[in-house]
């Protein structure tokens, strides 16, 4: 049986600076919401105080490709830091609005996406991350997507990957480029072997 200490998600959350009980709490919530997403095909979101592990506000439900988290961002208090987690039915990495939400809400310490296929993605600012202009971030995300498109187009045209598998990898590589450019910490954790 896998011990919690062997859980790669908990290990990563701890490396992102979270205390072990908070990391466990996030891992459990993420798995609960992932299961709900797998069943419904829609997004769910939760926010947790990064230091106390206390859940802030309700678990929110959204649609197949969007979710309104204004109830979470509106509940943030000055001087606190938060972990924001939401699910992606297609198991892709962060969208441009996900990253924009992190950079415009300075209290979000770490943003987490959990894919329906059990892939976890984590992103956070680091001590050396300079102030980020959101418009520059959106520009870089879209430019990276355009630059990589011919490569992934060829991959699906040749039948090397399905469009779904390709877009998961494509969105991950976009994030690697964006994270490198803005000095974010970014990690993908695959907890289940892909079929």
């Amino acid at each position: 049986m896998t011990q919690p200490e062997d859980n790669p998600v908990i290990q990563q959350l701890r490396e992102y600076g979270l205390a072990t009980p908070v990391a466990h709490q996030i891992a459990q919530l993420g798995e609960t919401l992932r299961a709900r997403t797998q069943e419904s095909g829609t997004e769910f979101a939760v926010m947790v105080d990064a230091d106390s592990g206390v859940r802030i506000g309700d678990i929110l439900g959204g649609g197949t490709n969007q979710i309104d988290i204004s109830a979470h961002t509106g509940a943030m208090r000055p001087g606190r830091r938060y972990i924001h987690l939401h699910t992606h039915p297609r198991s892709s990495s962060f969208s441009d609005t996900d990253l924009g939400t992190m950079v415009t809400n300075r209290q979000i310490h770490t943003m987490v996406v959990v894919g329906a296929d059990s892939t976890w993605y984590l992103v956070a600012r680091t001590a050396t991350t300079p102030p980020v202009l959101p418009s520059a971030l959106y520009q870089v995300w879209q430019e990276a997507a355009r630059a990589l498109h011919p490569q992934y187009n060829l991959i699906v045209t040749r039948g090397t990957m399905t469009p779904g598998a390709a877009v998961r990898e494509y969105s991950h590589v976009i994030l690697e480029i964006v994270a490198s450019q803005f000095d974010f910490r970014y990690t993908r954790v695959e907890t289940r072997r892909r079929r």
Partner: protein, 59 residues
């Protein structure tokens, strides 16, 4: 097939963020574009269709 345009422009992305909405429309743009490319790749080319049609005639 080039990626023509995203569903959300950078200005629209900024507006969604301001409204507190996590919107994956631009990820959908990538998915839909690849899905279309895969569908087109499955369709027989004009040359292949012509070839098949000529073989049918001669049969």
């Amino acid at each position: 097939m080039p990626l023509k345009r995203f569903k959300l422009s950078p200005e629209e992305v900024a507006k969604k963020v301001e409204q507190g909405i996590l919107d994956d429309s631009n990820l959908d743009t990538l998915f839909e574009s690849l899905e279309k490319a895969a569908e087109l790749a499955k369709q027989p080319s004009v040359e292949e269709e012509k070839d098949t049609s000529e073989r049918c005639k001669s049969a």
